[in-house]
């Protein structure tokens, strides 16, 4: 088997492949957004005072973290139609990926919230805040700093995990690579292409994640920035919120 640069370059920028790349990108984003929203909900259920809500969340997390995504995906796509729930490929992929993500993100959110100092809860209670007020003004702004880094890692994983959707014939990057490889038996070239694209996507995300983490990692308040002539940030001083 000989390496063919021609084929490699041809695959790399072929519209067929680029289309798969795009599918992988939007699939990751959609699954991540839905998964995180569900995850936040699960996290609050898990921390609820109501026994039933806690048990539902615990069971959900137990099942979805305890079984392979591949199995979940195949079940959603092939077994659910037999009980009357018919879903297309795209819907099945989105549902499987986001429900799976939710189980992991729930734990991340929960640990972020519990990481906020207990004294913050005391102080906001003593000021007469209700639960939504405590969450919104005090707890979540502080928990976000803890949640952001693992959230970034989850998205990195998500980009790569979408390749599993190929088993239910979702036309994303991996499946298109398989097909290109079979077309001309240029297996190595095709998969090297896929590797390059995945690497590019995760690298770009890595750079974004670095900036996000740098932003959330700096201490609260303008520590290095003590120039008195500089106008205070309206968001930080709260003037923006009051306009």
């Amino acid at each position: 088997m000989s390496w063919s640069w021609d084929h490699f370059m041809q695959f790399l920028f072929s519209p067929y492949m680029l289309n798969g790349v795009w599918t992988t990108i939007w699939l990751s984003i959609v699954a991540m957004v839905i998964g995180c929203s569900l995850g936040v909900m699960l996290a609050f259920m898990k921390m609820s005072k109501t026994w039933a809500l806690r048990q539902i969340a615990n069971t959900y997390i137990w099942v979805w973290r305890g079984t392979p995504l591949l199995v979940q995906m195949v079940i959603i796509y092939t077994v659910l139609p037999k009980v009357g729930i018919k879903l297309g490929v795209v819907e099945s992929a989105i549902i499987a990926l986001s429900l799976h993500e939710a189980a992991y993100f729930a734990e991340i959110v929960r640990s972020g919230i519990t990481s906020v100092n207990k004294g913050q809860e005391d102080a906001s209670l003593a000021l007469g805040m209700t639960w939504p007020q405590r969450m919104r003004y005090v707890i979540i702004p502080q928990a976000t700093r803890v949640i952001i880094p693992p959230l970034g890692n989850q998205f990195n994983l998500m980009i790569k995990t979408t390749s599993l959707a190929s088993v239910i014939s979702m036309e994303e990057l991996f499946r298109r690579t398989q097909q290109l490889a079979q077309l001309e038996f240029k297996v190595l070239e095709a998969y090297m292409c896929a590797a390059c694209w995945y690497l590019l996507m995760t690298t770009v995300w890595g750079l974004i994640q670095q900036r996000l983490e740098a932003h959330y990692d700096r201490p609260f308040g303008p520590v290095a920035d003590t120039d008195p002539k500089k106008k205070p940030d309206p968001v930080l001083t709260g003037q923006a919120a009051q306009v």
């Binding site: 102080a123 209670l125 007469g128 609260f220 308040g221």
Partner: protein, 273 residues
């Protein structure tokens, strides 16, 4: 310690003052953490304008009592009436005690201010926003008025020019004074202090106590858990001694310091003075 007292707390209170009607009534309160009973049949009445100091060794239940008054802890028996409200509970038709919901309790707490040992300022907000957050977001006060009030309070606690600073940029003593201003911004009827100077370096204690003494002179009702007997001498109407979850002695400061009756009080004073 004694040197500081003479410096900052020179004036002893001149006799008993005119006090208003009862504003906090603790009636036969029982509190348990699991199997450990931390408050045993505790009763206490605090009148409007009164300054009560609660002393005692750690583990005597004094902080727990204070937290129960603000319903930061549930109670297993008895009741606490504060500012006309049965804190945290109501009686149902059959006379059984029922816990109030989050919103109801939140409303009750707005009548009292609380200051904690560890300051608990909101680290993500600057000093001004720490103070105005609750008045604006919870009480719906006009932001401009709330800010003006906050600036006035900052002046009162001796920090007129730190409105834009973040908690991390302040010393412990400054943070605690901001915490006092934050509590005062809600215009509370009663102020609760939970060991407000215990986490401070010695040189910062007096700046916080000065603010508290000033507050007491302006007629604020205060319940103060503290080891600072200098403060008790300068500002308290009454000193309570707690031991093993009970109030074992209760006396005006002069009497408490010169002629303690209870063994716990004698031991406590011998160690602290």
């Amino acid at each position: 310690m004694s040197n500081m007292e003479t410096q900052v707390l020179p004036v002893a209170k001149a006799g008993p003052r005119d006090l208003g009607p009862p504003i906090v009534e603790v009636r036969n309160v029982e509190k348990r953490f699991g199997k450990v009973t931390v408050l045993k049949d505790v009763s206490l009445t605090v009148r409007t304008g009164e300054v009560v100091v609660i002393a005692g060794r750690s583990g005597s239940g004094k902080s727990t009592l204070l937290r129960c008054i603000d319903h930061l802890e549930t109670i297993e028996g008895g009741s606490i009436i504060a500012c006309g409200e049965n804190m945290g509970y109501r009686q149902d038709n059959s006379g059984k005690r029922v816990q109030l919901g989050d919103r109801k309790v939140a409303k009750q707490r707005r009548q009292m201010g609380m200051v904690f040992q560890s300051f608990n300022l909101f680290p993500h907000l600057n000093v001004l926003r720490n103070i105005t957050l609750a008045p604006v977001r919870i009480m719906g006060e006009d932001p401009k008025e709330a800010e003006a009030h906050a600036h006035a309070l900052l002046t009162r606690v001796g920090l007129p020019d730190r409105a834009d600073a973040y908690p991390s940029q302040l010393s412990g003593g400054q943070q605690q004074r901001v915490a006092i201003a934050r509590a005062l911004a809600m215009r509370p009827q009663v102020m609760l202090f939970d060991e407000p100077t215990s986490a401070l370096d010695p040189e910062m204690i007096s700046e916080v106590l000065d603010v508290m003494i000033d507050l007491s002179r302006q007629g604020m009702t205060m319940i103060v858990v503290t080891h600072e007997m200098g403060f008790a001498r300068a500002a308290a109407d009454r000193v309570l001694m707690m031991a093993d979850g009970m109030i074992v002695e209760e006396a005006p400061p002069e009497e408490f310091f010169t002629n303690p009756q209870n063994e716990h009080s004698k031991l406590f004073l011998s160690k602290i003075l």
